[in-house]
């Protein structure tokens, strides 16, 4: 096989991050897979014009755009009457799907139900909040990199992250209160 191209060398290390971001935007593993494939093809076409310093936020910006478009297309083709019902199922499916997905060795450290709660809480966030949490907490991007990936000013990243964290915490507390009514 031919040796790796500069494109592959630069972008294959970010496949996990790309898939993870796509998953948390579209909320389905199959759709995320399509999104990531399309995003890599787009990145490949645009690669000649890539002048950035860091490939990761550049790639993730493309993944995000493709994922948003996939969500829009889905909304447009969804049956209007059953749409909200459909979404409910999708959210439930998505969470159980993520839980069912082979857990990494690390994730075994967290009890299964705690993990389930965490994923459900993250799923409840609006996509604006969810994506900054994913980019910061899961992918460890700097504020500047997140700003590049979501095409927003750094100040927006900062306030969105702060509010997203607050909301995530509230969702978790509410679940905790529901599960253990005597505990709080």
């Amino acid at each position: 096989m031919a040796s790796k191209t500069p494109f592959e060398e630069l972008l294959t290390p970010h496949l996990q991050a790309a898939f993870n971001l796509a998953y948390w935007i579209v909320r389905s593993r199959e759709e995320a897979e399509d999104v990531v494939q399309d995003a890599y093809v787009r990145a490949f076409r645009a690669f000649a014009s890539f002048r950035g310093v860091s490939a990761k936020p550049w790639l993730l910006a493309i993944v995000r755009n493709v994922a948003y478009r996939a969500v829009q297309n889905r909304k447009r083709t969804a049956n209007v009457i059953f749409f909200s019902e459909d979404l409910k199922h999708r959210d439930k499916d998505a969470v159980s799907e993520a839980v069912a997905a082979e857990p990494s060795a690390e994730s075994l450290l967290l009890a299964a139900d705690a993990r389930q709660q965490l994923l459900a809480a993250l799923g409840k966030l609006s996509v604006d909040y969810r994506e900054v949490i994913v980019l910061r907490e899961l992918e460890g991007l700097t504020y500047n990199e997140i700003a590049e990936a979501i095409d927003a000013p750094v100040g927006t990243v900062m306030s969105r992250l702060s509010r997203a964290r607050g909301e995530l915490r509230e969702h978790l507390q509410r679940q905790l209160a529901k599960d253990e009514p005597n505990a709080v």
């Binding site: 494109f7 592959e8 294959t12 496949l15 996990q16 790309a18 898939f19 993870n20 998953y23 948390w24 593993r29 995320a32 897979e33 990531v36 494939q37 890599y40 093809v41 490949f44 076409r45 645009a46 014009s49 002048r51 829009q72 447009r76 993520a98 997905a101 082979e102 857990p103 990494s104 690390e106 994730s107 450290l109 967290l110 705690a114 993990r115 965490l118 994923l119 993250l122 949490i133 994913v134 910061r136 907490e137 899961l138 700097t142 504020y143 900062m158 306030s159 992250l161 702060s162 964290r165 607050g166 995530l168 915490r169 978790l172």
Partner: protein, 249 residues
């Protein structure tokens, strides 16, 4: 510092992104406020849990699938890039042998005519594609100073953007498109209900051409170069009014 301010500072502090002159005040507040220090603890714990548990791993064969799609893509683009040249050159070689000097002139003409036909097909495809979308533009504004800066960093050149509302061609906005194997600027104008796409990109060196109107698949097109840019205008608008717009740009 009050709690409300501290919340945002707290988040930035955890991420190591706080501005230096806020750092002391934020730390001091958190240390003295039980609510904020509890928040800090929770945020940190939630962050750690997310890192260990919320990542969704890609399917094992995804990298292979991408690699094979990219190979197809790479083959397609070399075919596209190589196709016209080699074939035209081969045809031209025959032509030169057969008809000497007149053949050579004919070759040059046919080469540029072929190139223009190929571009025209690209332009029609891009126009139709734009009409299939919910919106023909990614940045919607009739103000040239909103549309022009939007292209900064998205393409490697700064397109000239004019608002021609007064002349009866209101600017709808702009977007990126893909023509001639490159990312190019697309400006959208309207004339009554007709959508007009203007595609532009830096012209190849020394390439200059006068406005050349044409028609393909029922669309009127005009191509020209101006100010070092290659322009294509395309619309279902009649050729005369399209030429008016061309003159205004």
């Amino acid at each position: 510092m009050q709690c409300r301010e501290a919340h945002e500072a707290l988040s930035a502090l955890l991420d190591g992104e706080i501005v230096v002159d806020q750092q002391q005040a934020a730390k001091a507040h958190i240390a003295s406020c039980s609510l904020c220090s509890e928040l800090a603890r929770d945020y940190r714990r939630i962050g750690e849990n997310l890192r260990t548990a919320a990542r969704v791993p890609p399917p094992a064969d995804l990298a292979d699938k991408i690699r094979s799609r990219l190979q197809t893509e790479a083959r397609a683009s070399t075919r596209l890039a190589g196709f016209d040249w080699r074939r035209v050159a081969a045809q031209a070689a025959v032509l030169v042998v057969v008809s000497g000097l007149s053949g050579l002139i004919g070759w040059q003409l046919s080469q540029s005519a072929l190139e223009t036909r190929r571009l025209e097909r690209d332009v029609v495809a891009a126009h139709v594609r734009s009409l299939l979308q919910d919106s023909t533009v990614q940045v919607a504004s009739s103000e040239s100073h909103t549309v022009k800066p939007w292209f900064n960093g998205r393409i490697e050149f700064a397109p000239t953007v004019k608002d021609l509302t007064a002349q009866g061609f209101p600017l709808v906005g702009g977007r990126l498109d893909f023509v001639d194997n490159r990312r190019i600027a697309a400006l959208v104008y309207k004339r009554r209900q007709h959508v007009i796409n203007i595609f532009l990109w830096p012209a190849d060196a020394q390439h200059r051409s006068l406005p050349a109107p044409s028609q393909l698949q029922g669309y009127n097109t005009i191509t020209w170069t101006s100010g070092g840019m290659t322009y294509w205008a395309i619309s279902d608008l009649n050729a005369k009014e399209l030429a008016q717009l061309q003159a205004l740009l």
